[in-house]
Symmetry: C4
Subunit: 262 residues, 4 copies
């Protein structure tokens, strides 16, 4: 019985994270297969974030199908703890549903707004993290105070609109607030974390909240002095490599499997 994941698998996973489906040669079948796999990954990330308390009865994960204008997104109307790849819906960059199985979220524009503005972004997480959101209430900045928070050293802007991001105009405005950053807070509401892969956006979503919890404790008891830009650059290089991201993703995959084991 093999419960462990050998190095080769994690390296393969790390490589796969940055690779889209074959651009040609496979034809329609290969492409459909790749999209099914990506839907499974979106669903898995959603379930795992729910399990970690970052999503609850709402919040969503999406991914752009490489080389297309298709976005795969968790549906509005399926419980986040139970969602499967078959439930994931496809929308275009104007948030129009491309199939009829499930309804896309009311806030699909959080995702499509970012995809329109940021060609580098291939995955988006919209979470409701308890500690991170506090910073959008006090107006104090999230600072890089931990190795895992270093990836947010260039700042986590706050999108000042209080309410749903449910129109093209708001999606565009959120994307402008996000700019070239890795994450933004939506005031009094939640967070948006983006990345070049589902795995990376998933891991970054966890790291945002881990850093925020420690920063709140630091501010409640003393002064939270951020790391220097040089330190942040080193931390990112060291602990946010494709290997590290793949390892963390695999950790939560294993954890889900272990807890499901009767």
């Amino acid at each position: 019985m093999s419960r462990h994941v050998p190095l080769a698998s994690i390296l393969a996973l790390a490589l796969a994270m940055h690779t889209g489906p074959p651009a040609f040669g496979g034809g329609a079948d290969a492409s459909a297969e790749a999209e099914r796999a990506l839907k499974d990954k979106v669903a898995r990330a959603t379930r795992m974030l729910a399990r970690e308390g970052l999503l609850g009865s709402s919040g969503h994960v999406s991914a752009r199908v490489p080389g297309t204008a298709r976005v795969l997104i968790g549906p509005a109307d399926v419980s986040r703890d139970l969602v499967s790849g078959e439930d994931v819906v496809a929308v275009d960059l104007d948030s129009r549903p491309l199939d009829k199985v499930h309804r896309p979220p009311l806030e699909t524009e959080i995702h499509t707004g970012v995809y329109r503005a940021r060609p580098d972004v291939m995955a988006v997480v919209h979470s409701h993290p308890v500690h991170s959101v506090v910073f959008s209430i006090t107006g104090k900045p999230i600072l890089p105070v931990t190795v895992h928070g270093a990836i947010f050293a260039d700042g986590v802007p706050v999108f000042e609109h209080v309410g749903h991001v449910n129109s093209r105009e708001l999606g565009d405005a959120l994307a402008r607030a996000l700019g070239s950053h890795r994450a933004a807070l939506i005031k009094m509401h939640g967070a948006v974390i983006v990345g070049p892969s589902v795995e990376e956006a998933f891991v970054a979503a966890l790291q945002l909240e881990e850093n925020a919890e420690k920063q709140l404790w630091a501010e409640a008891t003393g002064r939270a002095e951020p790391m220097t830009p040089e330190e942040a650059a080193r931390c990112i290089r060291q602990s946010f490599s494709p290997f590290s991201v793949a390892k963390r993703w695999q950790y939560y995959v294993d954890k889900e499997k272990a807890e499901r084991r009767p």
Copy 2:
């Protein structure tokens, strides 16, 4: 196998939340059936709030049978995590038990006091939420600092009586303190959350505590500035619609089922 809940079901649920049993035509059988279903819903809300930590060895949920002076309420003497529809008891608006299976709670007047004063209220939750109660100790107001807290933007009054609400006089006084609000705190004790349906009172009870936890962290580390009335109105419209409430209710129903599976 269908683990997901299609849109149609949630919409049907949203509609049903605001619909009582058939006013006539069904006769005694249909009415008994509707009451059984409402008892099941009261029991389910109780179990789900216990699971979320808002009820423990005490606290209760009730519902008014539409068009009657009957109130269905979780019993005093059944563990909140295990209560079933059969355990739910019926009382009249004077808190007198209408059957003998179980004993009504000592604080039934929390519920009947509100039902007498507020014809619009069809369901009441009495919870013991850790973070919300803190505001009734410090005397600081609960403020709308999150999208989910917007429904409390008109204020959460504190009923200043420290102790049980176990007489008609106290039930009336609590109802006066509550006024037209959606929730009140009972000083150093707990919360009362009301709504036009069990689902809406259940969801509001969760939202009160979610908002309170974030507000406490904000106050421990900075300043908690509330949203504007305009922002609050928008948040309520957007995230407390019948669809949203039904979706959140369904989320916890699914979660309970998933945890009971094996």
Copy 3:
């Protein structure tokens, strides 16, 4: 299938809490049977407090056998989550073991010191509650700021000795610090909660920590003003009656059963 506990049972339980074994007539068999039942209760309270996070790898519950100089106490060397009635050991009031199955705790004097000084005390809990212990670090007093905390309105003295209570001298000194109170803190270490029954000491142990957690949040964000003595007296009367204590005890008994149900 009966998952609920009818009122009659809880009332019987409430009565039994304040009743020892038959003083005569039953002979040796009846008395052995009563002691076995009391050992089961000590073990159950220990497991339930471990489940609620108030005991961990150490901490203990004890009971005095009514009308005797025998004390039944959870052993030093059995995991608190797993202890059964058969593991519970008997000691005399000088902390000498009366049987050889298991070793009594190193700190048995916490219990026997109190039993020697307080004939009214029939049960003692020694817990390690996270939030309550903080007050023995800061030196700030635990105040009655919640209905459940009212039972501590006459104060929770701090025994200033930092270390184990492992001698007759220290047991006596702890008892003097406790005086006629219901609970004391052992500085930087833990809590001692006493009562006329295992059930009451168990419930009081939970209430001490519930009150402490809310008080800490109140102090971190504002001012924690205690309730008045009149309010405290009312709260004790209302929410610490034999019925209330029996109901809360039963709640945790049911919870343990439910979680063990495969």
Copy 4:
């Protein structure tokens, strides 16, 4: 059925903690057997720390094989919740892998740096404890404010390098920062806890975080005055004896077994 662990077993365990494998006489077989047992212990400590929230997708436990220059360490690429003795890898004191089954952690130098400098250290834990790390952000010292924290009364130095400890130079520098202490913090990153046995390092790792959580609450609400050196010495003698350490280790072993029981 025997769910409890009699005193004799715990005493035997306490003795075994301070005893290496037979120095001679057993030959290669006995030595291989002892190493397998030590690998199992490293894996078990890793799983139990993950279960307690001190390790997650990263962090590791190691042990030195007594009388050798071999270090057994949890691998980089196996989920901490699932690691078994077979997954544990052997490295030399220069962090070079001695077998090829799994990859050693990128930060193996945290461990080997300490083993090179501290012949007394037989086990090292590298954890990521939420509350302890906060002190490496604010720069406030961790103080002995609880009986369990007394073992850190001589101070918990902060290694000021922000980033991975992934070179011999950094391993040496960390060991210098640690000096003769029992634990050090790695700034904005995590903790290193050392001991003469896996059991003792494991228990100390838990105690560091327990003390830190209470100290944070004390500082958020008042003043955290440390115990005196005399008090600390007494607490260490009393609650960190081989018996106490063995008892606490056994507690978590039992807990893991109980939770795995279907």
